[in-house]
């Protein structure tokens, strides 16, 4: 068997979208299952991209270019996985909190989560506590991830957690918070389950929680 999975990894890291598409098709033609392409090609590639970002070897643009390449492969294997009714690793709903119209960090978290094998529901920006509550009821996610860039809007993270508690949903989900002004101390003060300093860490910490369950 050809070493397509290693080549897919390398092409994702280097951000070569069309190469990833070609290699994904070639791997499937060669007999690899869609799950294997995802879990041994695309997911580990984005994990390496996340590590490189954390180490300062990659910058946001490079992460976005790699994510686009990853989607090149993901968009091919996703319909096949759905046909086979393969369950995702976990489901996350992601949104920038009420009053916050910034989406770069939130979008990166969505990309890295999808690249990490998660099913992602991107709620968008300016999401009120009530909208988060409704989304949890509708999508039944494992994770609720909230992003904020302003100290004024950070307050809505706490309000969203409170709203989830009031609706009896708090214990059904793990809650993550992130964004430039957000700190571990703040996350602790509002009762979030975890804080991530960047999109890659959001995935590694979500993974750690899943594996510990």
């Amino acid at each position: 068997m050809n070493n397509f999975l290693e080549e897919i990894k390398e092409a994702v890291i280097n951000g070569h979208t069309s190469k990833v598409q070609d290699l994904t098709r070639a791997a499937l033609d060669d007999g690899e299952t869609p799950q294997t392409v995802l879990n041994k090609g695309l997911v580990p590639a984005m994990s390496i991209v996340g590590e490189k970002f954390q180490k300062g070897e990659f910058y946001i643009s490079e992460m976005m270019i790699s994510a686009r390449a990853m989607y090149g492969g993901l968009n091919i294997v996703k319909p096949l996985l759905l046909n086979q009714k393969v369950e995702s690793k976990g489901k996350a709903i992601v949104g920038s909190v009420k009053g916050d119209l910034h989406d770069i960090g939130k979008n990166l978290v969505c990309m890295m989560l999808e690249g990490g094998g998660y099913e992602v529901v991107d709620l968008g920006v300016n999401i009120s506590p009530e909208q988060f509550v409704d989304a949890v009821k509708e999508h039944k996610p494992d994770f609720v991830m909230m992003s904020a860039l302003l100290t004024t809007t950070m307050a809505f993270m706490g309000k969203t957690i409170k709203a989830l508690s009031e609706n009896g949903l708090r214990e059904q989900v793990k809650i993550a918070v992130g964004g430039a002004p957000v700190t571990q101390k703040f996350a602790d003060s509002i009762g979030a389950d975890f804080f991530a300093s960047d999109a890659g860490e959001a995935v590694t910490k979500a993974n750690a929680i899943l594996y510990s369950l």
Binding site: G56, T151, A180
Partner: protein, 363 residues
């Protein structure tokens, strides 16, 4: 004899030791200005006097409803650029982008950058005002004469990087690095050439210095790799920077250390805001303080917005002890004074700078 506020700023910008560490802000949101002054009708000098600021620029409500920079659309921008109806010292090009506005707060934001193809470059002609139109310069010259007093006054400009990133959108800007790098080059060059023409006019005016706002970094580092920065943005930013004939401050949020040497090659007098969540002030002072002035580092993520007055005082004291020795330091928030800063914390910052900022500094 005591220095004037202007002398303090110029001395500190040139890495000298003034009699007192100055304080200045890149921007003070108008709603906060009103809170500080208890009215929307005051002069820049009155605001400086009240807080102990040594310089002013940006914009002021002057008896009108407080707002930010207003909704920037191509239909309205050129007219308001040529004939500003509020006191302003800003000379920014517009974002070439689809803008949105939050109905609750009135804050404007960029929904989508529009410069995403070679075809879209024609939008420059629709959006950019004529940099040689005399009206704005004439009006601002009158305001300078009327309001400057003994304070340093700055004009805010851009060198092209932030305009490029925002007008393409970060995602398209990223993809273009592999798909069409020449598009980034063309976009940045056009913005830089526009600013260069503006700068030629500003050099002849009575400004003391310029403040170039070019956000290009996040907490981890620049948005793009140093290589991309060096090849596609820096040479164009240099087109504008080389035209500057006054002291100037470079501003970008985020961690600038990975590209600091490249930035310094532009020849700025000082760097702002040394965001504490992203850059260490002690490292900045130690490694670069002999080559460039330092402005900023009072935290906006927690201290000024959520902290106590005591925490503000402690932080100001600590920053002055770190960056003040030998001069070359100007206190400032680590971005701007936003309308969500606590008023009492802004006043505590004012008191602490006066208390701890006198040279010779106490141990």
């Amino acid at each position: 004899m005591d220095m004037t506020p202007r002398e303090r700023v110029i001395t500190a910008l040139r890495r000298g030791e003034p009699d007192q560490i100055p304080w200045m802000e890149n921007d003070i949101e108008e709603a906060l200005q009103e809170q500080i002054m208890g009215s929307n009708n005051f002069t820049p000098a009155q605001l400086c006097e009240k807080l102990g600021l040594s310089a002013f620029g940006a914009h002021f409500p002057m008896g009108q409803v407080a707002d930010g920079q207003g909704l920037v659309t191509k239909e309205t921008y050129q007219e308001s650029y040529y004939h500003p109806n509020k006191l302003t010292f800003d000379f920014f090009p517009p974002w070439i982008a689809q803008m949105g506005s939050d109905p609750e707060t009135g804050r404007t934001y960029i929904e989508k950058g529009l410069l995403i193809s070679d075809e879209a470059l024609k939008l420059f002609d629709e959006f950019l005002p004529d940099p040689n139109h005399p009206a704005r310069y004439e009006k601002v010259a009158e305001w300078l004469k009327e309001y400057r007093g003994e304070y340093a006054v700055f004009a805010r400009i851009r060198l092209g990087a932030a305009s490029t990133i925002e007008s393409m959108g970060l995602e398209e800007f990223s993809y273009a690095q592999v798909d069409n790098p020449e598009l980034i080059n063309k976009v940045c060059r056009r913005f830089a050439e526009w600013s260069a023409e503006v700068i030629d006019h500003l050099n002849e005016m009575d400004f003391d210095f310029f403040w170039a706002n070019d956000d290009l970094a996040g907490n981890h580092g620049p948005f793009m790799s140093p290589k991309v920065f060096r090849e596609l943005l820096l040479p164009n930013m240099r087109i504008a920077a080389e035209r500057i004939k006054k002291p100037w401050i470079f501003h970008s949020d985020g961690n600038l250390f990975p590209i600091m040497e490249d930035l310094l090659s532009l020849g700025m007098t000082a760097v702002h805001p040394i965001q504490p969540g992203a850059m260490d002030l002690g490292k900045m002072k130690k490694e670069f303080g002999s080559r460039v002035g330092i402005v900023g580092n009072i935290d906006l993520d927690y201290t000024l917005t959520l902290g106590t007055e005591e925490e503000v005082e402690t932080e100001v004291h600590e920053r002055i002890q770190t960056a003040g020795p030998g001069g070359g330091y100007i206190v400032s928030s680590a971005n701007s004074l936003t309308d969500y800063c606590k008023l009492e914390n802004v006043l505590a910052m004012s008191r602490a700078i006066k208390k701890y900022g006198k040279y010779p500094l106490e141990g």
